[in-house]
């Protein structure tokens, strides 16, 4: 059995001798920890966020999550080829940079000592630098050790040191964790994510290591419902759920194809054309974040949110809390003076549609049920 296995392994070429390709594979063997970076190493720039045609609900949900990360993530479900991944990668390129402790593997915020990791707590003086907001991909087929972090192989083997190699969750701290095809994620990884997303702390107890580190991130998932449903527990972790569909009117479709084609032919020139629009969104984001803490939610809005959740029979308080937070973030992004009923009405479908219990006597979809409740209660 062992012989068999090693023959199989040896007949495969190691990376160092891969067949001719212009660029050698980029290999980052688990080395000493570097500050987390957004992974935009590829030469071609990402498709600009502002160049996405239509899909207003999805774009709004992503921007709300960027304004207020505490809303708890965005789930994008929909048809094939509707630009789900494109939008999320576009958002990553657009986010304003954040201040982080130099050399900290978790990119701790120097201004918030309460959330610091064990390393930053021990240091007396912390230097800060400006880094891009991390947007970390969780690729399918990732193994548990790379997600939560594990013993650093290289250092252990060559120097006999017991060092922790942070995983994807560490890199995603204070940023976004993006899972494409979230419904295909392995069950044991889902369990891990549920726990970390709920507590904001990643606890590692393996290979003789015992480490806790902050892992607060906005979970962004995308997927196609035809390929499998999501477990209700994971569904509930997402603050907003949006459904996207392929545009059906011809001019919009032509516009989408035209832009995509222009981007593929000359990415740099195409992105330059949208740089100004992207900058405007970034400015609006920064302004909205500054406005958010001062924006109070009037009692009337709170009461309407409560009535809405009551009418729809959503479980627990999470629905109301998300509804209130997302409406506030939307109001902040739009520069409104106060959080009004129309903010509530516009965000309610995204915030509530995935929290409804399936009613066996009501065949209409959850989106329609939310819309009906909004009409009944808010009169909009």
């Amino acid at each position: 059995m062992i012989v068999n296995g090693s023959i199989r392994a040896m007949s495969l070429k190691p990376v160092s001798a891969t067949p001719p390709s212009e660029t050698p594979p980029i290999l980052r063997a688990a080395g000493p920890v570097k500050a987390p970076r957004a992974q935009t190493a590829s030469a071609t720039p990402t498709f600009p966020f502002s160049a996405i045609v239509g899909q207003d609900e999805m774009r709004r949900a992503l921007l709300i999550a960027a304004v207020d990360p505490s809303v708890g993530g965005v789930l994008v479900f929909g048809d094939r080829g509707t630009g789900k991944s494109t939008a999320i990668r576009g958002l990553a390129a657009l986010l304003p940079p954040m201040a982080a402790v130099v050399g900290c593997p978790y990119a701790c915020d120097p201004g918030r000592p309460a959330e610091h990791c064990h390393r930053c707590r021990e240091q007396a003086v912390l230097r800060a630098e400006s880094v891009p907001v991390p947007v970390v991909d969780l690729p399918l087929g990732a193994t548990e050790d790379r997600v939560v972090g594990a013993l650093d192989l290289e250092r252990a083997l060559t120097r006999g040191e017991k060092a922790f190699e942070p995983g994807l969750l560490a890199r995603a701290n204070r940023g976004f964790l993006y899972i494409d095809e979230v419904n295909l994620l392995e069950d044991h990884l889902v369990d891990l994510l549920l726990d970390v997303a709920a507590s904001g702390v990643n606890t590692v107890e393996r290979e003789g290591l015992s480490i806790r580190h902050p892992a607060r991130f906005v979970l962004v998932g995308s997927g196609n419902p035809e390929e499998g449903e999501l477990r209700p527990q994971l569904l509930d972790r997402f603050g907003l759920a949006v459904e996207v569909s392929t545009p059906t009117d011809l001019p919009t479709r032509i516009d989408v194809v035209r832009r995509r084609d222009a981007y593929e032919r000359d990415p740099a020139a195409f992105c330059a054309g949208y740089a100004k629009a992207d900058r405007a969104i970034r400015k609006a984001l920064t302004a909205a974040r500054a406005r958010l803490p001062a924006l109070a939610v009037p009692d009337a809005t709170l009461e309407a949110a409560a009535r809405l959740c009551l009418a729809l029979g959503t479980d627990g308080l999470r629905g109301e809390l998300t509804l209130m937070r997302t409406a506030r973030a939307l109001a902040a992004f739009e520069g409104a003076e106060t959080v009004g009923l129309d903010h509530l009405a516009r965000i309610a479908p995204s915030a509530l549609r995935h929290r409804l219990r399936r009613n066996p006597l009501d065949e209409s979809g959850s989106t329609a049920r939310v819309a009906r409740a909004v009409e009944d209660i808010l009169g909009q």
Partner: protein
């Protein structure tokens, strides 16, 4: 040489020129000399620097995406990565046999590699990004109602070929030269985009990737020169025509076009756009129409809209860690909670050997610690329970109850062989009863069936409700329910037990809708002497496959039910 073969060779030529830009080809063909010849020709067209790799069925992630190389790691005393099959095929093609059996997970990994042009692996303590500009050749050997190639993946490939109808003789001889096309004017890229989108809309293609791929192919055809109308036309024929879901309405029957396409909200937009087609787009539509394979639409009609099967959701929650079934990878864990997987355990222990032996001085033994233990994860194919909902009312008894019983008995025998479970729900008079709870006892099922009395009214809604309740219970238990309804569709008793044709019919449709909402697989067998419109409507409402019994003997019926599983 037949025209279809000429098209196949043309496609091979194009894919060989730039596999990654094309995405690849979905080839529908059984294994045979014609397919082999096509693959040979394709390999012959490829430049020598472009590799071709064949992907074995059920490939594991470490080979597909890359991971830790056990032998090299042991030899070097430090972690050594090995690249996966996808990365090895960079610049060339990956051939996927039996693509209709691809799991959604593998399909998603392939799709991600196609999209990004690179493979990202976060595995075994290594993080790697490898350039992977590949094209895929998906060999679809599915027959009839077999599972289809994952649409998410097929959507990303430019070409679809159907070689099933081709005989060896078709591949011989020289190509018949078409009429030399007149030199036509250059096209503005914007006009080409608009034309291709219009054609896609006219053919009922919802995905936006299709026109985009067509545009890419047109560019590939044009080379470095400007786009010509001829390139766009050929691209439309090669890329868009095989994806058609409906025939474009020709000018004369544009008004008579059926407006009842409830499943596509696109109909309004596209119907109106048909009227206002640009002259250029119209000729393109005509060209594409001519290139639509003749049996394509018939096949589409036959495939129907299968309800989405609920896989990962509730079923997965119940059967989280089955102890038996097909192995599906490994994970860290204790042998107490699962079956130890020896090889992955050794693989996990391998990198540490030098370190551990250095510390404890026992060089010859392999040292395995509890952290190294890997246990096998299993995936269990959930068990099928076929629920028969039999209409035993007077009208049905009069006509075909005996025949229906015969068909059910045939299915029982088959279920017995497959170790499936069966259940029997009968409805007559004022309500429904579960004659037989899910069981494997064939004899009991047969007794219950033959003792089934007929007569009375048709409480169809109650029958469907009872079958639905049973199906949901089966699903909660981790099984896969299939509901087979045998009825003539003429409901005349309401849920309350009150007679009345109108109310009973409405309630039956409502009950059917509930079955559909829960994505329960259903088949409706129309037992009436002549196919009934009501039964057909009912089948539509529950998303069922409709089988009229007058045309089906017991054997045909059992084939239909088997294919729905």
């Amino acid at each position: 040489m037949s025209p279809a073969w000429a098209v196949a060779l043309r496609v091979a030529h194009l894919v060989a020129r730039d596999p990654h830009a094309c995405g690849g080809v979905l080839v529908r063909a059984g294994a045979g000399p014609v397919r082999d010849l096509w693959l040979d020709r394709l390999a012959g067209e490829l430049a020598p620097a472009r590799p071709v790799r064949r992907m074995p069925a059920g490939i594991a992630d470490d080979r597909l995406l890359g991971g830790l190389d056990l032998a090299a790691t042991l030899a070097a005393g430090r972690p050594v990565a090995q690249s996966g099959l996808l990365a090895d095929a960079d610049g060339g093609l990956v051939v996927v046999p039996m693509a209709e059996r691809l799991s959604p997970g593998t399909a998603a990994r392939l799709a991600a590699a196609l999209d990004a042009g690179e493979v990202r692996a976060e595995r075994d303590g290594l993080a790697a990004r490898t350039r992977t500009r590949i094209g895929l050749i998906l060999l679809d050997e599915g027959e009839g109602d077999d599972a289809a190639v994952p649409e998410a993946l097929a959507d990303r490939l430019a070409f679809r070929l159907d070689l099933t109808g081709l005989a060896w003789g078709d591949t011989q001889g020289a190509a018949t030269e078409g009429e030399p096309e007149p030199d036509d004017p250059d096209l503005e890229p914007d006009a080409a985009v608009a034309d291709l989108c219009a054609v896609a809309a006219a053919l009922g293609i919802a995905s936006l990737r299709a026109p985009l791929l067509a545009l890419r192919i047109a560019r590939l055809l044009a080379g470095h020169k400007a786009l010509r109308a001829r390139d766009v036309r050929e691209a439309a024929c090669l890329v868009l025509a095989p994806r058609a879901t409906r025939l474009p309405s020709s000018p004369e029957d544009a008004e008579a076009a059926p407006a009842d396409r409830p499943e596509s909200p696109a109909s309004d937009g596209t119907e109106s756009s048909d009227q206002g087609l640009e002259p250029g787009a119209e000729s393109l539509v005509e060209a594409a129409r001519a290139a639509i394979p003749p049996d394509l639409l018939a096949r589409l009609g036959a495939a129907g809209a299968a309800p989405s099967s609920p896989k990962a959701g509730r079923v997965g929650a119940v059967m989280q860690a089955p102890r038996s079934g097909r192995p599906a990878g490994t994970r860290p864990g204790s042998p107490r909670t699962g079956r130890l997987s020896l090889l992955p355990t050794l693989r996990a222990a391998a990198p540490w050997q030098r370190l551990r032996s250095g510390a404890e001085g026992a060089p010859r033994l392999i040292q395995v610690r509890s952290d190294d233990f890997r246990i096998t994860r299993f995936r269990q194919r959930s068990e099928t329970t076929t629920i028969f909902a039999v209409d035993a009312s007077g009208s049905a008894a009069l006509e075909r109850l005996a025949e229906a019983k015969g068909a059910v008995e045939l299915l029982l025998a088959e279920a017995y062989v497959r170790r499936d479970k069966v259940a029997l729900v009968a409805f007559r008079g004022t309500g429904a009863e579960i004659v037989l709870a899910p069981t494997r006892a064939l004899a009991r099922a047969r007794r219950g069936l033959s003792a089934l009395p007929g007569g009375g009214g048709t409480p169809l809604a109650s029958g469907l409700d009872a079958a639905g309740t049973l199906a949901r219970a089966v699903r909660r238990g981790g099984g896969t329910p299939v509901v087979v309804v045998l009825t003539d569709g003429r409901a005349n008793v309401a849920r309350s037990g009150a007679p009345g044709r109108v109310a009973a019919g409405a309630e039956a449709l409502n009950a059917a809708g509930l079955l559909r909402a829960d994505a329960i697989r259903t088949i409706l067998i129309d037992t009436a002497a002549r196919p009934q419109e009501t039964a057909r409507r009912l089948a539509e409402a529950m998303g069922a496959r409709y089988v009229p019994l007058p045309y089906a003997d017991a054997a045909a019926m059992s084939t239909a039910i088997r294919s729905a599983r």
